[in-house]
C-alpha cells in the first residue's frame, strides 16, 4: 500500500484547518479508506477534541519521536470507525520537539499501512509549518472569503510551490455565506479563485452546526442533514478521484427554504 500524504494548511489561524481535517478524514474513512490523521500542532492540539478522542490519548507524536513507544501504540483508533486513526500532538511541548526529518520518517512508515495520511498543520509559516509540510506530497489550502485569509493563503501557496516535494495543491473555500456574497458584502468564490489562481476542491458553507459538533467531539459529516457535512463528503470523494459537482449553495433547496421564498415573494408583491 502506498498512501497519499496530504497536508492541510492555511497560514491564517481560525479558518477551519482542523475542522476540515477531522471531517475529510472521517468522510474518507466512511468511504472505506484507511486514514490516519497526524496533528502537528504541538502545544495547541485540537484535532483530538474535534474527534472526541481526547480521553484516549496515551502516547503522542513526541513519544514516538523520542522512542518511548512504537508508532502503532501511539495511533488512537476512532470510536466508531476502525479505519480511522489519530496520531495526537503533545500538549505540553512546543514545535521544536519534532524535526522535519522525524516527521518525514513517520509519514513514510504510515504510508505502508494507510491509504491517506492527513497532516494537520499549525497556523503560521514557522517551524511548525515546515515540519508539517516535510512529509507531504499534496496540499489542501484552506481559506475563507476574507481579504486577510486570502492574503495568507497566497503566501502559503507561494511557499508550497517552492517545495519540491509538494506535487499538487488544491484550494478549499470555507465558511462561505451565500447571502453575503449575494449582497456583495463578501468576496465571491470566483473572486477568490481568481486571486489565488488555484484549483478548487470544495466550497463549504458557514454552518452553526460546526460549533455544536466541535463541542460534542463529533465531526459534522456524521450528521446526514448538515449541508456543510455534505460538502465535506463531496470534498472527500473528489480527493479519491470522483467527479462530483459543487453544491449549489445559493439556492436553498429544502422545503422550508422554498416556503420561505414563496412567502417572501407574496410579501414583496403585497408591498
Amino acid at each position: 500500500m502506498d498512501g497519499r500524504v496530504i497536508v492541510i494548511t492555511s497560514g491564517k489561524g481560525g479558518v477551519g484547518k482542523t475542522t476540515t481535517n477531522a471531517n475529510i478524514g472521517t468522510a474518507l474513512a466512511k468511504e472505506g479508506k484507511k486514514v490516519v490523521m497526524i496533528d502537528t500542532d504541538l502545544g495547541l492540539r485540537n484535532l483530538d477534541l474535534l474527534l472526541g478522542l481526547e480521553n484516549r490519548i496515551v502516547y503522542t507524536i513526541v513519544d514516538v519521536v523520542e522512542e518511548r513507544c512504537k508508532l502503532k501504540q501511539a495511533l488512537v483508533k476512532d470510536k466508531k470507525n476502525p479505519n480511522l486513526c489519530l496520531l495526537a500532538a503533545a500538549q505540553t511541548r512546543d514545535k521544536t520537539a519534532v524535526t522535519e526529518e522525524q516527521l518525514k520518517d513517520i509519514c513514510e512508515q504510515l504510508k505502508k499501512d494507510f491509504d491517506f495520511i492527513l497532516v494537520d498543520c499549525p497556523a503560521g509559516i514557522e517551524q511548525g509549518f515546515q515540519n508539517a509540510v516535510a512529509g507531504a506530497s499534496e496540499a489542501i489550502v484552506v481559506t475563507t472569503p476574507e481579504m486577510s485569509a486570502v492574503r495568507d493563503a497566497d503566501r502559503i501557496i507561494g511557499l508550497l510551490e517552492a517545495k519540491e516535494e509538494i506535487k499538487s495543491y488544491k484550494l478549499l473555500l470555507n465558511r462561505v455565506r451565500p447571502n453575503l456574497i449575494k449582497s456583495n458584502d463578501m468576496m465571491s468564490v470566483d473572486d477568490v479563485v481568481e486571486i489565488l489562481s488555484a484549483e478548487l476542491i470544495g466550497i463549504i458553507p458557514e454552518d452553526t452546526g460546526i460549533i455544536t459538533s466541535t463541542n460534542k467531539g463529533e465531526p459534522i459529516v456524521n450528521d446526514e442533514k448538515s449541508l456543510a457535512g455534505k460538502a465535506y463528503k463531496n470534498v472527500a470523494r473528489r480527493i479519491i478521484g470522483d467527479d462530483v459537482p459543487f453544491l449549489n449553495l445559493e439556492e436553498d433547496t429544502s422545503f422550508v427554504g422554498k416556503m420561505k421564498k414563496f412567502f417572501s415573494g407574496l410579501m414583496g408583491k403585497e408591498k
Partner: protein, 372 residues
C-alpha cells in the same frame, strides 16, 4: 547513670511481650517515631527468656534505627546471662526510675509496681470484656465438674461390662455435646437419669440410637457452619487484613515524601512532575498534566491528566474537589473519562463533590471522600 538513669534516652517497656517477634514489632513501631532518632534506649523486658542470638538481633534492629541500647532490664536470669554474653549492660531499672528518692527495697518496689499496674489496669484495661469471659470460664468449670462427678459413679459398675460400655459411650456423647450451650442443660438431667438406669440395669437401646443420630446431625450442621464461616472469613480477610496493613504502610510512606505545593491554576500545556506528593490549590485545566511519585490532591477542579504513584506505587491516590479528569493513572493502571460525558470544556458549577481515586482489583475506582 550507672544505676539505670539515662540521659538523652528513653525507656522502652516491652515487658508484656511473650515472644521475640512481639518485642521486635513493638520496638520497630516505637523507634520509627521521629522523636526516637539518635537516642539511647533502655529496654525493659519481662520474664521472657531470650537467647544471646535473639538479643543480638534485637540489638541490631535498634542500631539499624540509628539508636543504641544503653542497657536492658529483665526478670529472667537466663536473659541476664545472655545479655552479659553479648556485652549488654543489665540493670534494675524499676526501683531506680520509679522511685529514685525513696530507699525502698527491691521487693517493696515490685509490690508497688504491681499495685500501680493493677490500678492502671482498672483505669485502662477493658474490664467490661474480661468479666463475661471469666464467667463463661466458671460455667465451663462447673459443667466439667459435673461430668467428672458422674464418671466415677459409672466406673463403679465396671464388672457389668456391656452396660457400662454403653453408658460410657453415652457420656462421651454427652461430653461432646456439652460444647453446645443449648444441649448443655439437658445433659445435667441425663446424668442422674443414667445413674438410675444403671441401678435398674436397663438401658433403652432406642434412646441411645436416637441420641447418636441427633448428634451426627448436629455435627454435620456444625461442620457446614464452620465451613461457611471460614469462607466468609477468607473472603473478608483477602480484602481487608493484608490490604489494610499495606495501605497503612504506604500511607506512612507517602507522608514522608516531600510535597510540592502549587497555589495557582494549571493551564493547558503546563505540566508538573514531582518526586513526592503534589497539592494544587486551584484548578487543573484540560490539556495539563501532573505526575507525582506520591499522591495528588487538587483543591479545585481536576480536568487534565493526573498520574499518581508514577514509580509504581499502586497505593497512591488522587483526590479532587471535582473529578473531571480526562485520564487518571495510578502506577500502571489507567482510566479514561467515559465518552458519554465527553465535554471538551469543564462546566463550571457551584456543586463540588470531593472524590478520591484509588486502585482496587487492578482498576481505578472513584469514590466520594466521605464514604471512605
Amino acid at each position: 547513670m550507672e544505676q539505670g538513669y539515662i540521659e538523652n534516652g528513653f525507656i522502652v517497656d516491652v515487658s508484656n511481650a511473650k515472644k521475640t517477634s512481639e518485642i521486635i514489632y513493638q520496638l520497630s513501631t516505637i523507634l520509627d517515631l521521629p522523636d526516637a532518632h539518635c537516642k539511647k534506649v533502655c529496654l525493659k523486658l519481662g520474664d521472657i527468656e531470650l537467647s544471646a542470638s535473639e538479643l543480638l538481633s534485637i540489638k541490631a534492629l535498634v542500631e539499624s534505627m540509628n539508636s543504641e541500647i544503653e542497657f536492658v532490664t529483665t526478670l529472667s536470669p537466663a536473659t541476664v546471662d545472655a545479655a552479659m554474653e553479648i556485652g549488654l549492660k543489665v540493670s534494675e531499672l524499676e526501683n531506680k526510675v520509679q522511685a529514685p528518692d525513696f530507699n525502698q527495697g527491691e521487693e517493696a518496689a515490685q509490690e508497688t509496681n504491681k499495685e500501680l499496674e493493677k490500678a492502671l489496669d482498672k483505669i485502662f484495661g477493658d474490664s467490661g470484656l474480661d468479666e463475661p469471659t471469666f464467667q463463661a470460664e466458671k460455667e465451663m468449670k462447673k459443667l466439667k465438674a459435673e461430668t467428672s462427678d458422674s464418671v466415677p459413679v459409672l466406673t463403679e459398675f465396671k464388672n457389668e461390662s456391656e452396660l457400662v460400655d454403653e453408658v460410657i459411650d453415652n457420656i462421651q456423647v454427652v461430653q461432646q455435646e456439652q460444647e453446645e450451650p443449648e444441649i448443655a442443660e439437658p445433659k445435667a438431667e441425663i446424668a442422674p437419669e443414667f445413674s438410675e438406669h444403671i441401678q435398674t440395669a436397663q438401658v433403652e437401646q432406642e434412646e441411645e440410637e436416637q441420641l447418636e443420630e441427633e448428634f451426627a446431625e448436629l455435627e454435620d450442621f456444625n461442620k457446614q457452619l464452620e465451613q461457611i464461616n471460614k469462607e466468609v472469613a477468607n473472603a473478608y480477610d483477602s480484602d481487608s487484613e493484608d490490604d489494610f496493613l499495606q495501605i497503612q504502610k504506604s500511607l506512612r510512606e507517602t507522608e514522608k515524601l516531600p510535597t510540592l505545593y502549587i497555589q495557582r491554576t494549571l493551564r493547558s500545556g503546563q505540566s508538573i512532575t514531582a518526586e513526592g506528593n503534589i497539592v494544587v490549590i486551584g484548578d487543573v485545566n484540560p490539556g495539563s498534566e501532573i505526575k507525582a511519585k506520591g499522591d495528588i490532591t487538587v483543591w479545585g477542579i481536576l480536568g487534565g491528566i493526573a498520574h499518581a504513584g508514577s514509580d509504581g506505587n499502586k497505593y497512591a491516590r488522587i483526590r479532587a474537589l471535582k473529578m473531571h479528569a480526562i485520564q487518571l493513572r495510578i502506577a500502571d493502571v489507567f482510566a479514561r473519562r467515559p465518552d458519554s460525558i465527553n465535554i471538551p470544556y469543564i462546566q463550571k458549577s457551584s456543586t463540588f463533590e470531593p472524590e478520591e481515586a484509588r486502585v482496587k482489583h487492578k482498576q481505578i475506582i472513584i469514590s466520594k471522600m466521605y464514604e471512605n
